[in-house]
Amino acid sequence: MEIVRERDPFPDLRVNIGTLRLQNPVLTASGTFGYAREFANLLNLHRLGGVIVKGISLEPRHGNPPPRIVETACGMLNAIGLENVGVDRFIQEKIPYLRGLQVPAIVNILGDSVEEYQEVTERLASIEGVAAIEVNISCPNVKKGGVAFGANPDMAAAVTHAVKENCDVPVIVKLSPNVSDISEIAAAVEDAGADGVSLINTLIGMAINLEKRKPELANVIGGLSGPAIKPVALRMVYQVARRVSIPVIGIGGIDNSRDALEFIVAGATAVQVGTANFINPRVSEEIAEGIGEYVKTEKLPSIRDLIGCLEVD
């Protein structure tokens, strides 16, 4: 039954990001899906387009002190501080499971300097089971006074270069929305060789505890995610998709298949589901199902016919 279903040519949900082939456009957003294994009992991972794991740095990181999260109106702030096991333990402990999946595992990477991005890439480059690399450029560039790599076209391009030159797998650059003109950054990383861009990472925000007159997060500021940010994400995806010719992956507040389809209509080739995983761990699979239903009901030849079809007078 399973096999028959997968061979069934309808609905055709396949999309490509560079040479990366996805059976459907639904990915899980980095930092919201652990290392995928945590969800193995809760949904059928093989029904997803692919999984993106928690951001990995060269050295293990403890992350920020608590509290790291706080709820806001239709959203949440997080300041996890990029806690992760580091690239070596990641390769040892997490890759074997990811390699066994029938869907691509994309590794999200981060760093404090161009060199760190490069080094992490080198270690991952030869590892079987790494289907693609997603580069988180929202991190501060320690050598440049802490301005985020993603806030500057040249720095964003430099990181992209460094990663691209050191691996053969497709490279997706994940853009920060905390910029004046995101399409400029997108164009810069496209020129630097990116195979795709994903957006948006979280908006920088803050919450205050009035009783204590202190920030709710130990880190003072954090990243805003969830339904609250969807309108901003959709706008940026629309703008970037019109600017670049590489595939765009839409992220931000996606909660159900309608949300995902809106991103595709706006110009996204694929989508990532983030915060919604916390509220319903099955949601990514449900979104993939819902997209399939839509393609069938609307009698579309494939989901690709929907990409960027937004009608604007």
Binding site: E38, P66, C74, G75, F278, I279, P281
Partner: protein, 261 residues
């Protein structure tokens, strides 16, 4: 470790006091898998605000597939939950986390402070089932005032353990804190202290247990987004200078593992 998402029907709604509510939920898979000290995450609204699920200890399970939660109205989520009605369905996710490590060969001293009593009914029940003799086991229950303690008293008497109650204001049971109770009652050597309650209470218990050489298992809280290890949002400081994550490494920890202030 299996976890389930169920649309659980509310089969019973009990308002124990103005702020404290107990819900009984039909959640067969969760009830069957649950262990004392584990918790569930419950969505309190079908709209997008409030967005995140809220964690609640499993207060009790039944063989007919029900679980109970006992909660205090604190903010928007619990306020909404307090408006739930019998017959309605709630999305419940669990059982989550790592529960108490029950030592059947050792005397038990169960300590609950305030809403920290919630998981203790399940624990006491399980201990009394697993052990042939619980006559030297203790249950110490402290609360702010009568309304917090009295409605739960009878439930705890049934096990034949030595049950003591205290309230901060003396309006019910003894006057004082549970930490004073334990000092006076002196649980036998080799006892395992199982505790849940305010941080200050847990901290004092930890000191007491260290002095007396007792094992001390504490159930702690933290903010949580996912409840299952996906977000890494629920960290608390560990003794080694790093962090542990309450939702999947806890909520029950050996008190020695944690960094106390």
């Amino acid at each position: 470790m299996s976890q389930y998402q169920e649309n659980a029907t509310i089969t019973r709604y009990e308002r124990l006091s103005q702020d404290n509510i107990r819900l009984t939920l039909q959640a067969d898979s969760i009830a069957a898998a649950a262990k004392p000290g584990q918790f569930v995450m419950i969505r309190t609204s079908t709209a997008k605000d409030p967005l995140l699920r809220r964690p609640f200890s499993i207060h009790q399970t039944s063989t007919n597939g029900r679980i109970q939660i006992l909660f205090k109205i604190l903010g928007r989520g619990t306020e909404l939950l307090a408006h739930a009605q019998e017959g309605e369905q709630l999305p419940v996710f669990g059982p989550l986390g790592h529960g108490f490590d029950i030592r059947t060969d050792r005397p038990a001293c169960i300590v609950g402070g305030g809403m920290g009593i919630a998981p203790m009914l399940f624990l006491a029940k399980r201990i009394s089932r697993l052990k042939s003799n619980v006559a030297s086991d203790f249950i110490l229950f402290g609360g702010r005032t009568r309304t917090e303690v009295e409605p739960l008293s009878d439930d705890f008497r049934q096990f034949g353990m030595r049950f003591y109650e205290a309230t901060d204001d003396g309006s019910y049971g003894e006057k004082g804190f549970v930490t004073q109770l334990i000092q006076r009652l002196k649980p036998p050597k080799g006892s395992v202290v199982y505790a849940c309650g305010p941080e200050s209470m847990l901290e004092q218990l930890n000191i007491y247990c260290q002095v007396k050489g007792l094992e001390c298992q504490v159930s702690v809280e933290s903010v949580m987004a996912c409840g299952m290890g996906a977000c890494l949002g629920c960290n608390i400081p560990a003794k080694d200078g790093g962090y542990v994550h309450v939702c999947y490494e806890g909520p029950v920890f050996n008190a020695e593992e944690l960094a106390w202030k």
